[in-house]
Symmetry: C2
Subunit: 306 residues, 2 copies
Amino acid sequence: MVETYVFGHKSPDSDSITSSLVMTNLEHELGNADAKAYRLGNINKETEFILNYLGMEAPELLEGVEDGADVILVDHNSPAESVDNLENANILKVVDHHKLALETSYPLFLRFEPVGCTETILCKLYEENGVEITKEIATLMLSAIISDTLLLKSPTTTEDDKLAVAKLAEIAGIDYEEYGLEMLKAGTDLSSFSIDEILALDAKQIDFKDVKSIVNQVNTADISDVMAMKDDLEEGMSKIIEEEDLDLFMLLITDIVNSNSQVIALGKSACLVEKAYGVKLEDNTVLLEGVVSRKKQVVPIMTENA
Amino acid sequence: MVETYVFGHKSPDSDSITSSLVMTNLEHELGNADAKAYRLGNINKETEFILNYLGMEAPELLEGVEDGADVILVDHNSPAESVDNLENANILKVVDHHKLALETSYPLFLRFEPVGCTETILCKLYEENGVEITKEIATLMLSAIISDTLLLKSPTTTEDDKLAVAKLAEIAGIDYEEYGLEMLKAGTDLSSFSIDEILALDAKQIDFKDVKSIVNQVNTADISDVMAMKDDLEEGMSKIIEEEDLDLFMLLITDIVNSNSQVIALGKSACLVEKAYGVKLEDNTVLLEGVVSRKKQVVPIMTENA
């Protein structure tokens, strides 16, 4: 049996984990029995809530793939965020909603849409292929869309996401607002994590032109809870900056109730945050009002100003 | 009115021209009235045959786009093969069947499938969106699939291409084999072209790792007709190699009846052809038996051996 590895990005969020499960199910339904879901890192608290709600196991951890392995990428396409040895793998398909950062020497199946969540695209793929969306699959999809769009309030939210949520909530038989708030709050529980773990939870390596950066996002219901750890967080960030030779480490502490983000920025390019948002960092930190989306409100603006 | 520019690659073939027309029609049907088809170069004889058959005009020539222009790419994604100033345009969508060679700083709509022709993907998009395929649209789509797959005989041909041809031939009311052979033969008529024009007809800039190359493909019903011009072709190729500082110029003279290609290779990396195919160039030329597809039988093999 030649396995097809299906996985989302490193430091997986709920979209990456659920999409790997949902895409694997779709592959099975379309006749590829060898598809298997994997994860490239630890499950976060929010994803744990979703899997517990459904009584499901997390996908197996994948450390790397052998040369020539068949892989399907969901919720990412950048090799920097993907599995080790991706450059020698055979990418069959990519389903994603991020900017394009992949090159191949062969044609492949790509399905990208500028929507809020990969699951919104997968929902369409099920429909187009006439594959039934079960209650379990609907719950996985719905949870990820709520997560990525912060209950349809993030500026990344599109009409397609709203339509998908309405449809999936009905199939799942879930009051999505009530379920969603509970799920998002579960995701803000940092009590069991060390500082190093918090800094790795949803960290993405992103280069703003030649500014080598990590942008990490931590959701919270109360910014001051996280800011109480500021000294320890900064110490951890400084260590990572040195180890990875970074120009910038941005930590976004996002208030999911009021839709703002407190940013802590360290590194020799921290001034780029001031330039990009027209703000002044005080003691390495500033509140970015209305900023909740790394993809829509951080990456393009930081890249433009780099 | 903010126009949406829809176009295929430079040195356009029938897929690039027909796909720009068909995609524009789809955009109109989906509510984007501002979409307009363009071409990035001269129409070839085969495309002329198709447009004449339908009594249609060729799309307008596009020299470049302004900063921030909305564009839709069909049948290509590599900036090297696209419009001037693409890096400052806003790419809304890409529908393509080639390898991936594009990066963006923003998410967008991508629909890539490893099929023989862009029109096969567009045919699916019409279906998925419930848009009627008229007789004219079906003829455009059908013609391009016949062109790209050399009447479904090229190794790039997939089941999806065959299904599309069967469906489209019925809508168009065309005997596709008879029509297709006539169309392909029309495309081999080089009588009105200068040597420079022949060398630009279907030329693609492709880098095999760091080997800077142009690979040009000319279809013919009789290889010896084209080889009669060998000295003049080589003189023109040498001039382009010097002007563009190329490492390699490969001219594929493809026999569409017997499915072989005579290759003429010039430049300091011409030996790469010998290495890749295990052949010996004699007087800069060799017959590559069974080779008809640049994408499937040239690019990956040359890249692997570079």
